[in-house]
Amino acid sequence: VEDRRQDAELMSAAARGERDAFAEVFDRYGGVVYAIALRMLRSEGDAEDLVHDVFLEAWRDAARYDAARGALRTWLAVRTRSRALDRLSRARGGRHVALDEVEDRRERAAASTAHPAEVLAVRGALQVIPEDLRVVLEQTYFFGWTASEIAAALEIPLGTVKSRLARGLGLLRRSLEDETNDELGR
């Protein structure tokens, strides 16, 4: 709560053009923005450019940040993902393929729009999934890679990526169901 109050004050000050306040915003959240950018773009140079763009946009839109609607960290994280997807799309020739190779779009939507109470549950469920499956799930659903890109990066066949995705989703679903049942059983 204290962090969020301070974030709101910093962004209000930035909206008045106070550059020192915005430098503090960068010092607080440059790390998460850079980490997401690197995870999605896989290039330090591109990630640095993206961090610059995201923070410049946040500087411009500082007055639009509303602490009552969400934490500044998540506001910046969502913007980072969105801008990174734009860059990935441009790099792929404007083709929006970030998620179109996923066979079960309903699952994707469910995974990316979890309710607040489920956020930690999803994170916990991901942690118990074997790493080879988890990497494919995270890169596909949250970081915008295509199955082909994952296959190339991991040097495994495309079919293996798709099967890991299917198995990973199955495990994720069962894990979340188990957690829900545990909650109901308490």
């Binding site: 550059r19 850079y34 500087w59 007055a63 609607r69 993902r81 729009t113 956020v119």
Partner: protein
């Protein structure tokens, strides 16, 4: 996605990565931008609204303003100014960015058209009790008379939407 979805997605993204400090040059580059050509970007929305300009047009204006040759030297208390064309639905026909000298005073005048002044830097007030800091608006109705004063602590940059005035004295 709605804002709740954004919040959840953002929380998940943040949870799935370990923060990693970007190289120092990223910070330097950003601070250099917000000290220079992007200094007044936080006022884009308010300028867009009051001057009836798109955000792209405001961006173009601010880029022009970041280049010294685009400014014209004024007469004290105006240090320099840069005229621009407001949108068709703005409440007055003329507009400009104006640097006013710290402690400067614009003598008594009456407004024959409405005026809007968005302060981008410094503090500007008048003898009618109006006062605006960076990001704030001074709105002067038709017929109002006043003397404008710039805070002595520093020069002020204002975006002015104006029409005709009638000088009343010194």
């Amino acid at each position: 996605m709605n804002s709740e979805d954004d919040e959840n997605l953002g929380a998940l993204l943040g949870a799935l990565v370990d923060d990693r400090a970007p190289p120092a040059r990223v910070r330097s580059r950003l601070l250099s931008a917000i000290e220079g050509s992007s200094r007044y970007l936080p006022f884009s929305q308010v300028l867009s609204r009051h001057f009836d300009l798109s955000l792209e047009e405001v961006g173009g204006l601010l880029r022009r303003a970041s280049e010294a040759p685009n400014w014209i030297v004024g007469v004290e208390p105006v240090r320099r100014y840069l005229d621009f064309r407001p949108g068709a639905c703005a409440v007055a026909p003329r507009a400009g960015l104006v640097w006013l000298a710290a402690g400067g005073r614009i003598p008594a005048h009456r407004h024959l058209d409405p005026e809007r002044m968005v302060v981008l830097e410094g503090v500007v007030s008048d003898d009618a009790g109006r006062c605006a800091r960076a990001g704030e608006l001074l709105e002067i109705p038709v017929g109002a008379s006043h003397v404008v004063q710039v805070d002595p602590a520093g020069d002020a940059l204002v975006a002015l939407l104006h029409g005709k005035i009638h000088l009343l004295g010194t």
